[in-house]
Symmetry: C2
């Protein structure tokens, strides 16, 4: 969403120029962040793992008690129309559903006239395609922050909502540092996730990642990586990790739909680049298992969306 | 904000009909709830305790790292203009400042072009004025909820932001009950506050209210009540309260700028109306100290805004 000037967004059933894409100031999405969203990737004109995103979105709306009355197919149509109208094949896609305008009380009215917004933006294919460009500015510098992840009992972490200040406060702590992703912990001090990413580490040839029992978003990319690891016979532990575990890991990487698999170069200023980085992967400072998973991820995208194999 | 059809709001420096008062869908207020706000009351055309609200708003913006560049005087001008344009003397006023539209990253850019919105709505004077109407639909029915207050370490409670889902989830738990305000607890199980109100109880002729050491909004009305109690020589303890303390109290009341002092009739279904309610206050089910503080509050409003005494 760098320069939106020439893009069309989909707002409330209409395609409108991004500059004129608005919601009323009484929209509960604006007043309270009372809205659900998904961030997705389109490759070759199709959203990657649409069903998984639609599932999670349905779950978020359920948590919010928001019966918006739209089918998954209707939502997908809006996304597809927006991609087509912008002539976009490889793109960033964000789909938001807010509870819309309701009478002036905090209590949500069960009768919902939702505001549905589709944002798109060109995003190069990435991965291992011949024309691939990394979709991140180099490997990540991860920094433990004081801001604690919102506990599930306050707002369930599996709901992806427009209440994003927790992540923003975490990122604000990085303003005076070189780090570009925050590592948030739960109330007990265990690592939860990044502000916009799930975290994985490599230890003894296996993967470890914070369990969804903690305040951790069940990332669709996280899920894909777990699936790829299972197919490849790579052992995975979902458990409780400390920042020290992350700093001492053989490799560390982050996942989200936009970044796909993004290697981490430093954690709290400590270099976590593996000593045995090959010349082939040194430009991305990625260890061997990170590199393998990034390739498997790209291959899956290619198989699903471009018919390559 | 019941029927906004004929009202003018102030958006980004312009007075606009409420129906046309919009923000761009890329406004961070909509995308992330990345915005600060204050809810206030105007009496006789003037905002009650403007300075206290302006102070807290400044504090919220500081917590959000949002240097919006507007002076308190400029903000007050916008509020005053909006009241005047709507010919409103006794009114509900909400002032919001969002971080506006920024390049498409979660990290806030230090250069802020804020979106400033003033919402107004007629609200009768209330209190003990000759033409007084209660501004709440009878005394409150309070219900302990499972949703836990967001801890200070995740999002500081003294910041009043557009991230309001925590309170909405708490209110959603009341959907199938007769209760109309949720009692939220902190991570240790102590009472924090209502979804939109601070809580007080009366024990042995003194007041008790959750300490601001917990995840409790420093309410301006709460502060006024503490001040009135001090003037009147009523002892006050700010400490840790359990739901049982609240259920067993002699009297319970809630405060916020809109409700002023609102008596509580039931807590978790238990009647907390004092046995010695006088005929004079029975219609509001308020105990003697609640009634006294409501009158003192109304008297202060009258003295400050209407020159009565």
């Amino acid at each position: 969403m760098t320069d939106a000037a020439d893009l069309l967004y989909h707002v409330d059933g209409e395609l409108v120029p991004a500059a004129e894409a608005t919601v009323n100031v009484r929209d509960r999405g604006f007043m309270y962040g009372d809205a659900a969203f998904e961030t997705m990737r389109a490759y070759g004109g199709e959203v990657f793992r649409w069903d998984a995103h639609a599932d999670r979105l349905r779950g978020t709306c359920e948590t919010l008690g928001m019966d918006h009355g739209l089918t998954d197919a209707d939502l997908k149509d809006r996304v597809d129309e927006t991609l087509a109208a912008n002539d976009l094949a490889d793109a960033y896609v964000k789909l938001s559903i807010s509870r819309g305008v309701q009478p002036g009380k905090l209590d949500p009215d069960p009768a919902v006239d939702p505001t549905v917004v589709v944002y798109v933006s060109p995003l190069p294919r990435g991965g291992t395609a011949p024309d691939a460009e990394p979709v991140w500015d180099g490997p990540a510098a991860l920094q433990t922050v004081r801001t604690q992840r919102v506990p599930d009992r306050a707002i369930p972490a599996d709901a992806k909502t427009h209440n994003y200040l927790n992540g923003i406060l975490a990122r604000l702590e990085l303003r005076s540092s070189d780090a570009d992703e925050a590592m948030l912990r739960d109330a007990e001090g265990y690592v939860a996730e990044g502000a916009t990413s799930n975290l994985f580490l490599v230890d003894d040839g296996g993967l470890r990642t914070p369990s969804l029992d903690g305040p951790v978003l069940p990332g669709v990319t996280r899920d894909t990586v777990l699936d790829l690891a299972a197919e490849e016979g790579i052992p995975v532990e979902e458990d409780q990790l400390t920042p020290a575990d992350v700093r001492d890991a053989d490799e560390v990487f982050l996942t989200n739909s936009t970044w796909e698999v993004r290697p981490v170069a430093t954690v709290d200023g400590v270099d976590v680049t593996p000593g045995d980085a090959t010349p082939e992967n040194a430009d991305r400072d990625a260890g061997p298992l990170t590199t393998l998973l990034a390739r498997l991820y790209a291959r899956r995208v290619e198989r699903v969306h471009y018919g390559d194999d």
